[in-house]
């Protein structure tokens, strides 16, 4: 059975890679951008789910970590000429104004730097619990944003960065998304992941069983920050501009929405919800732009998308707290069980 499952996984992966290839060569820029965003949001949702869903620490700092990643990768990949043009109010500090490195190392550095920030923040913050942790991480996200606005020589302040090379392709975003899924599945299945779940279920009992709470919390938090940084970097190099207004709490809210919708503590749920929410967000743009149906003119309603999403979140949390998947995961048995049932009904 195990071999057969691996075979199925391999085949579906191959089919998916073929699908990416087909999408990359035949879709237009707009569709590809949404496809890219799906991959990026998968990474971000998994990053948040590791801390919120699996470890049970309610963190709201994702937007801040994304900002660190996005700015790092942007500053490393922009050409010196472009930087000179962008930083016209105050020049960029040395040596950043001279360097330009390829995308892959820039991504890695972005992730590591973001992870480092997560580690440093985690030290004081992870001593807190529940709501205090939520508000403290939210606070750190805000502090990072205030620093970005004020550190003009490094981030160009409120003006943001423009002309970031568009390196993110579907291969990058989905490749890294698949890698993240693979890593997450392995983390969650390992004894380390089981320790995280134990902490989620009952911190004191977990401690009594000999689990080092602080070690597990801080590594989960750092890993989460690392992935958020990678996601932020991919996002920055996809839309080619970053500015402080991008990384407000609303961005964290969107990712939280994905995690809650998919089910806190389900990788499969996060992946499905990331794709569904990203596509919905684009599809619902129609509500916000003016429309003419025949002779009827409907003016656009700005803000309507977020209203719909907040209502969606409220409905899920009030009436269907588990989200799509609860804490369950995808398994090949789904099909075989269904298949068996089918056989039985056919036989009787």
């Amino acid at each position: 059975m195990a071999d057969r499952k691996k075979f199925y996984t391999g085949i579906s992966l191959l089919l998916f890679i073929l699908f990416i290839y087909w999408a990359d060569s035949s879709w237009d820029g707009y569709k590809l951008r949404i496809f890219n965003l799906c991959g990026i949001y998968i990474i971000l949702a998994l990053s948040l789910n590791l801390v919120n869903g699996f470890t049970g620490l309610f963190s709201l700092g994702t937007a801040g970590f994304m900002a660190v990643g996005a700015y790092t990768s942007a500053l490393l990949t922009m050409s010196p000429q472009m930087k000179e043009m962008t930083f016209f109010l105050k020049p960029l500090i040395w040596p950043l104004n001279q360097i330009q490195i390829p995308f892959f190392p820039a991504l890695i550095i972005a992730g590591i730097l973001s992870g480092l920030v997560g580690f440093l923040i985690g030290f004081p913050v992870l001593r807190l619990r529940g709501d205090y942790l939520a508000i403290a991480t939210l606070g750190f996200g805000e502090i990072l944003r205030v620093i970005i606005i004020n550190a003009q020589g490094l981030t160009n302040g409120a003006l943001g960065l423009k002309g970031i090379p568009k390196y993110t392709t579907v291969w990058w975003s989905w490749g890294l998304a698949l890698l993240t899924i693979f890593l997450m599945v392995n983390i969650v299945k390992s004894s380390y992941g089981r320790a995280l779940k134990a902490i989620r279920e009952d911190e004191i009992a977990a401690q009594a069983m000999g689990i080092n709470l602080f070690y597990h919390k801080i590594t989960a938090f750092t890993l989460s920050a690392f992935f958020a940084g990678i996601g932020g970097a991919l996002l920055g190099n996809l839309i080619t501009t970053v500015d402080p207004t991008m990384f407000v709490f609303q961005l964290t809210f969107q990712i939280l929405l994905i995690v809650v919708l998919g089910g806190m503590g389900s990788i499969t749920g996060s992946v499905i919800a990331a794709v569904v929410v990203t596509i919905l967000m684009e599809a619902l743009r129609a509500v916000e732009s003016p429309m003419t149906i025949g002779s009827l003119y409907i003016p656009g309603i700005p803000g309507m998308r977020m209203v719909i999403f907040s209502v969606l979140l409220m409905v899920v949390i009030l009436f269907y707290r588990q989200g799509f998947m609860g804490q369950r995961e995808f398994a090949w048995e789904w099909f075989s069980r269904k298949g068996r049932r089918h056989e039985q009904s056919a036989g009787s």
């Binding site: 919120n52 049970g56 309610f58 004081p124 913050v125 001593r127 807190l128 529940g130 709501d131 205090y132 939520a134 508000i135 403290a136 939210l138 606070g139 750190f140 805000e142 502090i143 205030v146 620093i147 606005i149 004020n150 004191i204 709490f249 609303q250 809210f253 939280l256 809650v260 806190m264 309603i301 700005p302 803000g303 309507m304 977020m306 209203v307 999403f309 907040s310 209502v311 979140l313 409220m314 949390i317 009030l318 707290r321």
Partner: protein, 297 residues
């Protein structure tokens, strides 16, 4: 810095501090009873300003009547939010209620964006609040004095209610232990509704004063005061009413003094509250006046 200038900053700081205190009380009362960060509190502040704005603009009410109607309507909204979004989750895990609160906050903000539009509007300032008063070389707007006086009166009434009336006793009992309070014959739901009503009314007063102080309103003005006042409540010791007042004053004075004494750090003004929060949480996780909470196994 001259003494007069210092005095001016001091008065300003106290004024802002009492405004923060007024809003922080709402957080601290709700947290004391439900153990919930009411993220929608900041949006209640915003709604209060919009109700005044439309009351004066569309129904051309006199300003004081608009204020009163705003306070009443906001109170109803606050109680409704509790009934619709928090009560169904009374027995759910804490994270669910917190997410629900975040959801309500986003819903109110974006619904307001849809209904009121995103463009900032100017809040009507009655003349009596903008008169300049000269006070021994220090000239300040009358509002600067009206805010702490109003806040003082309201907070006195509230403290009296909580400490010396039967209702107040029921509130304290509910905050201490839900189940036991219920067994003692206290109507928990009524007490929680009352808590939200008082908190929202104070937020409405705070919001109106916020509008008078910073007379530009848009659907997102509630976010920053909302977060800062929550921080004020935590700094003072959440669940503790005198603590919320103290926290509000520390935050208000600190912010004004930071800008006054270190003008180069003006850009970091909004980060001040968060840095203060993190320092306090590290040194005294239960806040300045908070009691130590024993860990329940």
């Amino acid at each position: 810095m001259t003494f007069q200038l210092f005095l001016q900053h001091l008065v300003n700081g106290i004024s802002l501090g009492s405004l923060y205190a007024l809003i922080a009380i709402g957080y601290t009362m709700v947290y004391g009873i439900l153990r919930l960060i009411n993220f929608a509190h900041g949006d209640i502040i915003m709604l209060a300003t919009y109700i005044v704005f439309f009351g004066i603009l569309i129904f051309s009410l006199p300003w004081w009547l608009a204020f009163i109607i705003s306070i009443i309507l906001t109170t109803i909204i606050g109680v409704t939010v509790e009934r619709a979004a928090y009560r169904p989750l009374r027995n759910a895990p804490r994270i669910s209620i917190l997410i629900s609160a975040i959801g309500v906050s986003f819903l109110i903000e974006n619904l307001s964006l849809v209904i009121f539009g995103g463009r900032a509007k100017s809040f009507y300032q009655p003349h009596i609040f903008t008169k300049i008063i000269n006070f021994g070389g220090v000239s300040l707007m009358s509002l600067t004095f009206i805010i702490p006086v109003t806040a003082g009166i309201l907070l006195y009434c509230l403290t009296y209610l909580v400490n010396h009336t039967k209702t107040g006793m029921a509130m304290r009992a509910t905050a201490r232990d839900f189940e036991t309070a219920r067994l003692m014959g206290i109507d928990i739901n009524a007490i929680i509704s009352l808590t939200f009503a008082i908190g929202s009314a104070l937020a409405a007063v705070g919001g109106i004063m916020w509008g008078l102080r910073y007379p530009q309103i848009h659907p997102f003005i509630g976010i920053m005061p909302g977060l800062k006042c929550f921080i004020a409540a935590v700094v003072g010791g959440i669940g503790n009413i005198p603590g919320a007042m103290l926290g509000g004053f520390i935050l208000g004075l600190g912010e004004i003094m930071l800008v006054a004494l270190l003008p180069t750090l003006t850009g970091y003004r909004d980060a001040f509250a968060f840095i203060l929060l993190i320092i306090i949480l590290l040194v005294r996780p239960t806040g300045i006046l908070g009691e130590k909470i024993a860990e329940k196994v």
